[in-house]
């Protein structure tokens, strides 16, 4: 799986795409691979204020329950409701249709973000 160049990555294997003041969040292909078949995604409420590093969603695979952390601070403006019916999209299209939430960036903080090259190196370490 190619790691997209237009996204930034965290050490917890989340990705973020920043378009102006909107940030889109998801988990990486490596993360979904490690979790296995995802059967449930708990989405955050709209208007929820998130700090960077705050657990904002939960993905559940057959055997495990995992928190998902916000790469940057912001207010939730949209969630991927398709995941309520098709949580497997996180497995099949982690960097695209498997996105989880969009926030309006508040500027109140960010986790350490890596470029695609840096994340690739991080995965190989």
């Amino acid at each position: 799986m190619t790691i997209p160049a237009n996204l930034k990555y965290t050490k917890d294997h989340e990705w973020v795409r920043i378009d102006g003041d909107i940030a889109t969040f998801g988990i990486t292909d490596h993360a979904q691979e490690a979790l296995g078949d995802i059967v449930f995604v708990e989405l955050p409420d709209i208007d929820r204020e998130l700090e960077a590093g705050e657990a904002y969603a939960v993905v559940e695979s057959v055997k495990a329950v995992s928190d998902v952390y916000a790469p940057v601070a912001g207010v939730v403006v949209e969630v991927n409701e398709e995941l309520e019916g098709e949580p497997e999209k996180v497995n099949t299209d982690a960097f695209g249709g498997g996105w989880i939430a969009k926030v309006k960036i508040s500027g109140d903080g960010s986790l350490e973000l890596m470029t695609d090259d840096q994340y690739n190196t991080f995965l190989e370490e």
């Binding site: 296995g36 449930f40 695979s61 057959v62 055997k63």
Partner: protein
């Protein structure tokens, strides 16, 4: 304290699992595959939708009981009525403490009047064997732990018989549900029973370790799909079958675990009988119920269960069933088994649930 590295055992099929992409995890003292490349959901689907799934369950233990007093001994040690077994028949049973709580749940195979074979849970093996041997004093029996020499495979699903038959001379059609045949496979002894823990037709196959890889490979050649622990637990839970450490433990008796059907109080004395009779007269201390989530989420083990807003118990096994949704088994207070509004606490929120009946999905075992 210094770090202690606990050595995990490997079954004779360890390398085969790794070669198939098995994700190996610690389980009951063994390194076992939780899933293969296909993934848990597709493995589950293969078994439920007409294929034959093959499971390495060699972690389970086997004990051979033989001697003139074998029947009297097993009548005293186990809950089910061993006198009702005919040669070549298996039944589900249990070992209890004097307090009536579970040491283990087991299956008992009757080979002949003086020879029986027990299949026991991996995590309880040493405890069970110690108990079986300690209780053998005064009986003319020999109790031999054959676990280390025995590979146990389960072959489950509608295509199981077709996949297994080419390997054997025995006509599998002649083996009924909870019946078994003794085999010679490549000149060595084995047992094949029409049993399993998935709710599908299928077999459990006991063979010496020396031929484990050959039989495994032959079954894969026959089209069997390797299935890991995750899918196995899904299949088990959908049937509502009890699992030691979950629904069954040394904290509950058969009265709580809904296992009075394998506890024959009219067969004569057995260890734990008096305590079970007392508990039955007093009533269960908790009740095992089957529940289905109405709201969204996955009910999981240990999640609290409330009735009419009051904490009543907890989930013992829970899952997302592709066919039935969020389903679970739970112990609740006796007065809450039949009425009152149920909810399951998931990450601090109460999610509505309702009582349902078992199995959660249709069983396809051959009766």
């Amino acid at each position: 304290m210094p770090d202690v590295e606990i050595a995990l055992a490997k079954t004779p099929l360890f390398d085969a699992h790794v070669a198939l992409g098995g994700k190996m995890v610690p389980f009951a003292g063994f390194e076992m595959p939780v899933q293969y490349r296909l993934g848990a959901l597709k493995e589950y689907t293969a078994v439920r939708e007409g294929e034959a799934g093959i499971f390495d369950i060699t972690h389970m233990g086997q004990v051979r009981v033989s001697g003139n007093d074998a029947l009297a001994y097993l009548q005293y040690l186990t809950t089910n009525d061993v006198s009702k077994l005919v040669d070549g028949q298996v039944h589900y049973s249990a070992l209890l403490n004097e307090s009536g709580t579970f040491i283990d749940d087991i299956t008992t195979y009757k080979i002949s009047d003086n020879a029986y074979y027990l299949c026991i849970n991996a995590a309880n093996r040493h405890k069970d064997v110690a108990h079986l041997q300690a209780q053998a004093a005064g009986f003319d029996v020999s109790v031999v732990d054959e676990s280390d020499n025995t590979t146990l495979l389960a072959l489950q699903g509608a295509a199981a018989q077709a996949a297994l038959q080419p390997l054997l001379d025995t006509d599998l059609e002649s083996i009924g549900y909870y019946k078994f045949a003794q085999l010679r496979v490549n000149g060595v002894d084995g047992i094949v029973s029409r049993t399993g823990y998935t709710g599908e037709d299928g077999f459990e196959i006991y063979i010496p370790n020396a031929i484990a890889v050959n039989v495994w490979d032959a079954l894969l050649q026959s089209g069997a799909v390797p299935i890991g622990l995750a899918a196995r637990d899904m299949l088990r839970t959908e049937m509502g079958y009890a699992l030691y450490g979950h629904e069954i433990s040394d904290a509950v008796t058969p009265v709580e675990a809904k296992l009075m059907w394998i506890t024959k109080l009219d067969k004569g004395d057995f260890i734990g009988k008096a305590a079970v009779e007392t508990r039955r007269a007093e009533g269960p201390r908790q009740r095992l119920i089957a529940i289905k989530l109405v709201g969204r989420g996955i009910p999981r083990e240990h999640y609290p269960v409330s009735v009419d807003g009051v904490l009543s118990g907890e989930i013992t096994s829970g899952m997302h069933s592709p066919m039935a949704g969020g389903v679970a088994l739970a112990y609740v207070q006796p007065g809450h088994a039949e009425s009152g509004d149920l909810s399951v606490e998931i990450r601090g929120k109460q999610v509505a649930a309702e009582r349902t009946t078992l199995p959660f999905v249709r069983s396809n075992v051959r009766r």
